[in-house]
């Protein structure tokens, strides 16, 4: 008897940034992506307000989840670290 197919609960996404190493983060499907942002910033010691995250060219909102954005394994999230000045 074939085993019932397991429902997918997590996806692994790649967060990439210019001049920095890629970070792979495994996220639960229904987790708000704010957690992903925090996890990335915590790991690299960045100020979360100064980093912008985009997926397919549009900004990721804090409350959106992986299933909202229909992300799949190996998808790439771009992170942009901005230097500001007057």
């Amino acid at each position: 008897m074939p085993e019932p197919k397991k429902e997918k609960t997590h996806v692994t996404v790649k967060v990439q940034r210019q001049h920095a190493v890629d970070v792979f983060i495994r996220v639960r499907l229904d987790l708000p992506l704010r957690e992903l942002k925090l996890a990335y910033c915590n790991r690299l010691g960045l100020d979360c307000d100064a980093v912008r995250f985009t997926y397919n060219g549009s900004r990721i909102h804090d409350h959106e989840t992986v299933s909202d954005l229909k992300m799949e394994d190996g998808d790439v999230v771009d992170a942009w670290y901005d230097v500001l000045s007057g």
Binding site: H19, V83, L84
Partner: protein, 204 residues
């Protein structure tokens, strides 16, 4: 009050000039026809303003910068925030600086003078080192290796909430430091310049 050396006094070696503010030589300044371009400028500013208004918060404009500009292909993303900053005359983001340089490059290329200039990606020299990032000095050194004799090397640098510009003139072996709020020369930047640029001057 600060010391100002006129451009008539030439520094024989770089060491003499360090720490002084040197008057910018006239041949480095390009003066355009300002009177005729005023109306065009105003119109384009209004257009830009309208465009920024239309853009949604989550939308970004992704722009590919060709490898001629910074030595390697770079993708930048312009957001509404960046545009708002410009409209409200607030901070200038890295994206704006890079985009401006790319326009400058196109303008310079039209006059076939592009071989005289070399731009250094501001993101590889600015900002503090963070874990997970590639070390910046080698990236900077690699870019400087592309320089050819007689070129002007432009290094925009963020000293922490303020942009300054360093121009390295390889033909006369001089380094110009442009700072709009005339402060002391940034220590880190001076160290970097001392380490890499003097080597560069030795080659040419």
């Amino acid at each position: 009050m600060y010391k100002m050396k006129s451009d008539q006094t030439d520094f024989l070696i770089l060491g003499e000039a360090v720490g002084y503010e040197v008057a910018c030589p006239g041949n480095l300044v390009l003066v355009g026809d300002e009177a005729t371009s005023k109306n065009v400028e105003l119109e384009s500013i209004e257009l830009f303003f309208a465009y920024a208004k239309l853009l949604q918060y989550e939308e970004t404009i992704t722009i590919m910068l060709e490898d001629g500009i910074f030595g390697h292909k770079i993708q930048i993303s312009l957001t509404r925030e960046d545009m708002e900053y410009v409209c409200e005359m607030q901070e200038l983001s890295l994206t704006c600086i890079m985009l401006y340089i790319s326009y400058l490059y196109v303008a310079v290329k039209e006059t076939n003078l592009d071989s005289r200039f070399l731009f250094v990606d501001p993101s590889i020299v600015s900002g503090k080192f963070k874990s997970g990032e590639f070390s910046k000095p080698p990236l900077f050194a690699r870019r400087l290796r592309d320089a050819k004799a007689g070129q002007l090397v432009f290094v925009p640098y963020n000293i922490g909430f303020h942009w300054v510009l360093v121009v390295i003139d390889l033909s006369s072996a001089m380094v110009f430091y442009f700072d709009s709020i005339s402060e002391k020369i940034d220590k880190t930047l001076q160290l970097v310049i001392d380490t890499y640029v003097i080597q560069l001057f030795m080659i040419f």
